[in-house]
């Protein structure tokens, strides 16, 4: 026994020494979660991994979503890119066009042996016969409303609208009640925020496909899209003046200060509410996105993934090890708690783990989190709803075309039919070879 322990000890020490002596494999990791608390959490996660794996060093660098489209192509081509980085499906198409993204089929396969992925997280990363990134968390749109204002206006705070018609009725009642002058806030700037709301309305109205089965055929100009835009315009007219220049923060402030009673947005409102208001969390109601008649349950769903760029085999192996570690439910829960209630699990294992649910904010707003998770199943992303993806699909998001079409209606005064027609032309233009 003693000898065994001694030998084991020596071996361990030797192993430790070699690990210490050999340079660790360095993995440069870019992410775009630029808010301070998220930067900090990602740093902590990497540090913990590095401490547990002395032979690997993951070094995170924070970038910003606003500028990554310019930076990444230049940096990657100049050989100054990261070894792996955070991505969304549309950003992925950009980088993939450079020939720099490595398929991760084997890694996905080995992860699938242990974990079962939520399909809508995986789908947008599978095209051209390969998986191009490993999803790590998702986010989607829900219907946020002020229960207190609903109550003051004589509405049942526990009966949020289920259909588009109900939503318009409630807007009218809120307005008539005089409790709020403007019932809802919608963004209208040429900005991602507007794109996302529009696409959310498109999905529930069965207009989720921008391309036909043939990825070069643009089917954006169809009655369902037009209806979605008409509905957006009706909401826009209930939104405070100046909404045509609004992006993320204005609707959020309008809801939190009680200027309006309704906003459709992502789950970061939970933590935002706690951080920037003194009101009880119970005032903040959450519901699925209302669905029109003949529509379908839906939302926009962003699957955030990690894509591998390095060609170095040793680094690729280290990346696999990092992900295997990261996917453990407690670690993953810890990571996505960087903004509780916002980042949604992509595996059933995390979803059903106590680690995920055992967080104060999530505990308090279980219902809101459950709605987001339930609806992530129906989530879609523009340009990534088919088996084959147009290689330039990312340009639709980069040029904010959905928002541009919205402004044609709200600012330019065009009828939705004509604006959508113009939008289809713009899309064809940006995706052409």
């Amino acid at each position: 026994m003693k000898i065994k322990a001694f030998v084991l000890g020596v071996v361990l020490v030797l192993l430790g020494l070699t690990a210490w002596a050999a340079d660790p494999v360095e993995l440069v990791f870019w992410h775009m979660e630029a808010r301070p608390n998220r930067v900090e959490r990602i740093q902590e996660v990497c540090e913990r991994f590095n401490a547990e794996h002395p032979d690997i060093e993951v070094v995170p660098y924070v970038q910003s979503w606003g500028e990554i489209y310019q930076l990444a192509p230049a940096a990657i081509q100049a050989g100054r890119g990261p070894d792996f980085m955070l991505t969304t499906p549309d950003f992925l198409t950009y980088v993939k066009a450079l020939g720099a993204v490595q398929p991760v089929d084997k890694l996905i396969e080995s992860l699938q042996q242990e974990y079962s992925f939520i399909q809508s997280a995986l789908t947008p990363y599978y095209f051209d016969d390969h998986y191009w990134a490993v999803p790590i968390y998702g986010m989607d749109f829900v219907f946020w409303y002020r229960k207190d204002i609903f109550e003051q206006a004589g509405l049942d705070p526990n009966r949020p609208p289920k259909t588009w018609i109900e939503l318009l009725e409630i807007c009218e009642k809120l307005k008539a009640s005089g409790v709020v002058e403007y019932p809802i806030a919608v963004p209208g700037a040429i900005h991602m925020a507007t794109d996302q709301l529009i696409y959310t309305l498109m999905t529930v109205n069965k207009a989720e496909h921008i391309f036909g089965e043939d990825p070069n055929e643009v089917i954006f100009d169809n009655p369902h899209t037009v209806e979605a835009y008409s509905f957006y315009k009706q909401l826009f007219d209930y939104s405070p003046p100046g909404s045509a220049a609004w992006a993320w923060d204005e609707p959020r402030t309008a809801l939190f200060t009680g200027q309006v009673a309704i906003v459709m947005e992502k789950g970061h409102y939970l933590k935002g509410w706690i951080d920037s208001t003194d009101l009880p969390l119970a005032y903040l109601g959450c519901a699925p996105i209302p669905v029109p008649e003949g529509g379908q349950p839906g939302t926009i769903y962003y699957s955030n993934g990690l894509m591998l760029l390095t060609e170095d085999l040793e680094k690729q192996a280290a990346f696999n090890e990092f992900l295997a570690w990261l996917f453990q439910p407690e670690i993953m829960s810890w990571l996505i708690h960087m903004d509780p209630g916002f980042f949604l699990p992509v595996t059933k294992e995390v979803l059903y783990s106590d680690a995920f649910w055992d967080e104060p904010t999530i505990k308090e707003k279980v219902a809101a989190v459950v709605i987001q998770i339930d609806y992530s199943e129906y989530g879609k992303l523009f340009g990534f709803t088919r088996e084959t993806v147009n290689p330039n699909a990312g340009a639709i998001a980069a040029s904010n075309i959905l928002a541009w079409v919205a402004q044609q209606i709200t600012v330019g005064g065009l009828p939705p039919e004509e604006a959508v027609k113009l939008g289809a032309q713009r899309i064809e233009e940006v995706i052409r070879e």
Binding site: Y69, Q70, P73, A74, I76, Q77, A78, Y94, A97, L98, G99, A189, I190, P240, P241, G242, A244, A245, A395, A398, S399, W404, Q407, Q408, V411, G412, V430, E433
Partner: protein, 307 residues
């Protein structure tokens, strides 16, 4: 400034005739200009014949396709129109505005030198500061301009200065003019100050009207300066990017997408560097006439000094 010196021929030969020294001293700047202006300039021409989507991927030669595309692109033609409008109004307002400001500052009042130095402040401020400042002042909900207009009963609804199609162009033009007018007025002021006050006094005694004093005394002196101001104002206005971009990003819709904005969006949002290059070449050709006039002027001026 001091008087121009006319060196004696002998001395000039001793001190000046030193090609080695001359070339040695000019070399750093020459290298810089060649590397960062001339070479890229030729590259723009070269790139305009290629399809360049991603840097590092081999470029595809496409002949004149980029030019054909750009010249047929309605957005490009609209951007040309907007640039023309933007430049024309800016130049006009800047000339008139700077002349008025210069005349006001040319009066006799206490602290004139001090005020003259500080009126140029808008030009000293970084563009991003100018953008934030005016966005705040003109904000529909919190801005002081809308607040005053509504409280004075002149308006019922706040004006969306930077978000409505009718207002956005006038507003951005105003802000740009506001920024450049002081600069030009200082130059005009310097010219005005070369006019002797006695001339006005004598004219006044002769019974000349204010307008005639301006017409026959002031204008002849400042006319050449005015034309410099006009040319400068034109060249700077037409190339303005940052003011517009930071205020509106070319929006709402495309209402303030002038040529520089169009080129920037093509290159760095759509990643079509070839088409962006073609568009910039077309823009340059359009400006060529003005550029030539301007350069001839500068060259003539330097010619007088033996250069």
């Amino acid at each position: 400034m001091g008087k121009k010196l006319k060196p004696t021929q002998n001395f000039a030969e001793i001190v000046f005739n030193d090609p080695v020294l001359g070339i040695l001293l000019v070399l750093p700047l020459l290298f810089w200009v060649l590397a960062t202006i001339i070479y890229p300039l030729f590259n723009t021409i070269y790139f305009s014949f290629f399809n360049i989507r991603y840097i590092g991927v081999p470029f595809q030669p496409v002949g004149l396709t980029n030019y054909k595309y750009v010249l047929q692109d309605p957005s490009f033609l609209l951007a040309c129109g907007r640039s023309a409008l933007w430049t024309l109004i800016n130049v006009t307002l800047q000339i008139v505005g700077s002349l008025v400001v210069a005349l006001i500052l040319n009066q006799n009042f206490r602290g004139r030198d001090f005020i003259r130095n500080w009126v140029i402040l808008p030009w000293v401020l970084p563009t991003v500061v100018v953008a934030i400042m005016w966005k705040w002042i003109l904000d529909p909900t919190h801005g002081v301009v809308n607040y005053l207009l509504i409280n004075l009963g002149l308006l019922a609804e706040p004006i969306q200065f930077l978000a409505s199609p009718q207002w956005v162009m006038p507003t951005t033009i105003f802000i740009n003019t506001w920024r450049w007018t002081p600069y030009f007025s200082i130059i005009l002021l310097a010219a005005l100050q070369t006019i002797q006050r006695e001339l006005y006094e004598a004219a006044a005694i002769d019974g000349a009207s204010t307008w005639n004093q301006f017409r026959y005394i002031t204008l002849p002196v400042i006319a050449p300066v005015l034309s410099v101001v006009a040319l400068n104002s034109f060249l700077w206005s037409v190339n303005i990017f940052d003011t517009i971009w930071l205020l509106t990003r070319g929006g709402p819709i495309d209402y303030t997408t002038t040529l520089p904005i169009y080129i920037y969006k093509k290159a760095f949002q759509e990643f079509r560097f070839g088409e962006a290059s073609a568009a910039s070449i077309v823009m340059f050709l359009g400006l060529l006439l003005i550029v030539v006039v301007y350069l001839r002027r500068l060259f003539r001026e330097s010619e007088e000094e033996g250069l």
